[in-house]
Symmetry: C2
Subunit: 413 residues, 2 copies
Amino acid sequence: MPASPTRADCSARDAADPLRDLPARFVPGEAGTLYFDANSVGAMPLAARANLARIEGEWQRLRRRGWSESDWLAAPARLGAKLAPILGAGADEVIVCDTTSLNLFKTLAAAVALRPGRHTIVSEAATFPTDLYVAQGLARFRGGVTLRLLQEGEPIEAAIDGDTIALYLSQVDYRSARRLDIHALTRAAHDKGALAIWDLSHGAGAVPGDLDAAGVDLAVGCGYKYLCGGPGAPAWIFAARRLHDAIVPALAGWMGHADTFAFPLDYAPAPGMARFLVGTPAVIANAAMEAACDIWASVDPHAVFAKHAALGDLLIALVDEGAAGPGVGVASPRDAAQRGGFVALRHEGGAALVAALGEAGIVSSFRPPDSIRFGLSALTHRYVEIFDAATRLGEIVASGRWRDPKYRKGKSI
Amino acid sequence: MPASPTRADCSARDAADPLRDLPARFVPGEAGTLYFDANSVGAMPLAARANLARIEGEWQRLRRRGWSESDWLAAPARLGAKLAPILGAGADEVIVCDTTSLNLFKTLAAAVALRPGRHTIVSEAATFPTDLYVAQGLARFRGGVTLRLLQEGEPIEAAIDGDTIALYLSQVDYRSARRLDIHALTRAAHDKGALAIWDLSHGAGAVPGDLDAAGVDLAVGCGYKYLCGGPGAPAWIFAARRLHDAIVPALAGWMGHADTFAFPLDYAPAPGMARFLVGTPAVIANAAMEAACDIWASVDPHAVFAKHAALGDLLIALVDEGAAGPGVGVASPRDAAQRGGFVALRHEGGAALVAALGEAGIVSSFRPPDSIRFGLSALTHRYVEIFDAATRLGEIVASGRWRDPKYRKGKSI
């Protein structure tokens, strides 16, 4: 076992960090508060302010002329191209629009149409709930489609067969941060002629997406977590280039039309990913999101993933050494290659401990039944912050003050 | 024929206007520019700046705690309730979310499920194109649903029969501003057991929606036109209270779940309109939109509709008197009760005239084949602006400079 990391060790790592200048590209949070909520709302890029101010000015001055004289309509594709490298995708394979849930519907509807004669969507009970609701809603409306949910421990590969439309999974378990192997599972889906659809919400911006390398067919992800696009930011959707021409969207709208401003009566899909657009782009939200996309486009994805793994490894090492206090355990995989964007800890205090932590200036989040989640960001976190958080957590746990009844409730998202 | 209105007449009307203080609640546009594009991007409420600044602060300071400590999650219902009076709806019948196109899909999917055994959606070729694309996409994906499009002049009532799922119409023709009779047509749909679905995008905030009074079943509308919610603002969706419990959304997601944060595996619709929510609310976009909703909640809808009609009547009177120059005709209904949010003029210059007008500081828009649209806003327009626009238009038409080849192109939305 290596010696326990000291605060000085962490400072030294920060000084040597090739990404050490990135935190300065974000607005600092509340003084004294440590934010471990990149899994929920990532930090605010400094440039988001300027971008929002620019859009306010265009709204005021240009009004409708913004559609033609500014870059409002081009934003979805432009933002998608900027995100593509961190997702392991081609610039023409990602577009930013709508919400994760709506984009999931688009992927499933596309898969159903691409695999006529097949009837089953294979997923896990561990998949994020909204993903399951989307599939249930689609199955109810469409008919002829069944959602098969695997329980923990059931082998996924064995559930895929000739009736499988798509394997439909969250890359990262939203409670434990367990990360599935996108490469192996996508191959397993393809081996049976099924499509592979991945929700990368709890991975994108933290761990490799590898969408092209893994041969993924369709994927989606959240814009407001690790990607730092702002609360409720537009989501993204990916489709492998080889599929573009074959997909005629079920959610068809004017912004996905091949010739929107000719106003023909019949729908014809736009070339490429633009066909996944439906309604008018969210101009203001896209402006905030673009500040984040510009940062993503400027970083080396490998450096981001390496630092992200190291941050998690450090937190786990500190917990193992007892820095986080007695009774605190690690609920996430210890192997960074099997872990997503956060580290889940476990302690009898559960949600009450998260509430007590919050009062002490450590923002984390709880997920039933027992996950205390620390969302990590390679863009904004310094190693010393991990050290300080573990130490502060240790003090709170040792103090026992999380047992105060006032900490017993709390809503989380 | 009454005497031609003078500029002094218009000033007098402004001085007596019960809504005369409303323009001061909006950010002034470019000096010297007259904006007639409320049919595309409405003016920016002053409070939008403060609202956006507040959300920037919450993003920076609260991060994920905004979900529980701020009002982010409550925004869709809160904004809907504020819009309801101008739509003629109950506060619990409107929710703000997603885009017009996506909300159209929700209404159609609900209608299909509410009318099993029926197969036809009746609409018009004059319906806004995205509405048609949404229906086409849904019909293709679902199967067993046919879109019947009526051509101009075909009587709508006669097309509704026992196989009609829904009458699915734009309240206002996006080229001519012709307004359909929501009351009569909704009754005609109900007489045959069909539902009535209305897209109020080119009417809401300008002319009566009368959703409850007319017995409308489902409706949607755009947030960024007359409603002034900002470019690409979230849209709204309405469902009559009597239908809420019977609708299980096809676009199902966690924000429409009855118990979102319990994370159950199975979808169960939230009570009331919340079931129409799908993904995470667009927090930043909602903040801008709320500034407009607050204005709508503060005005007397009847005063707004009366002024809107008067603005259009004034423009038409000025055109008829020749103030807008020779060869300029009125393409919209002369009866305000049959007209939507804009007045369409007609002139041989068409799109080139719109471009020349733009250069002269009059923002209007063109729709093929020949509609020169002047979007009017009872919240922001003064009568003298109508007078000045007509006069300036008259000078440009008379000058013939719109014939310059440089005006021959231009994209519009």
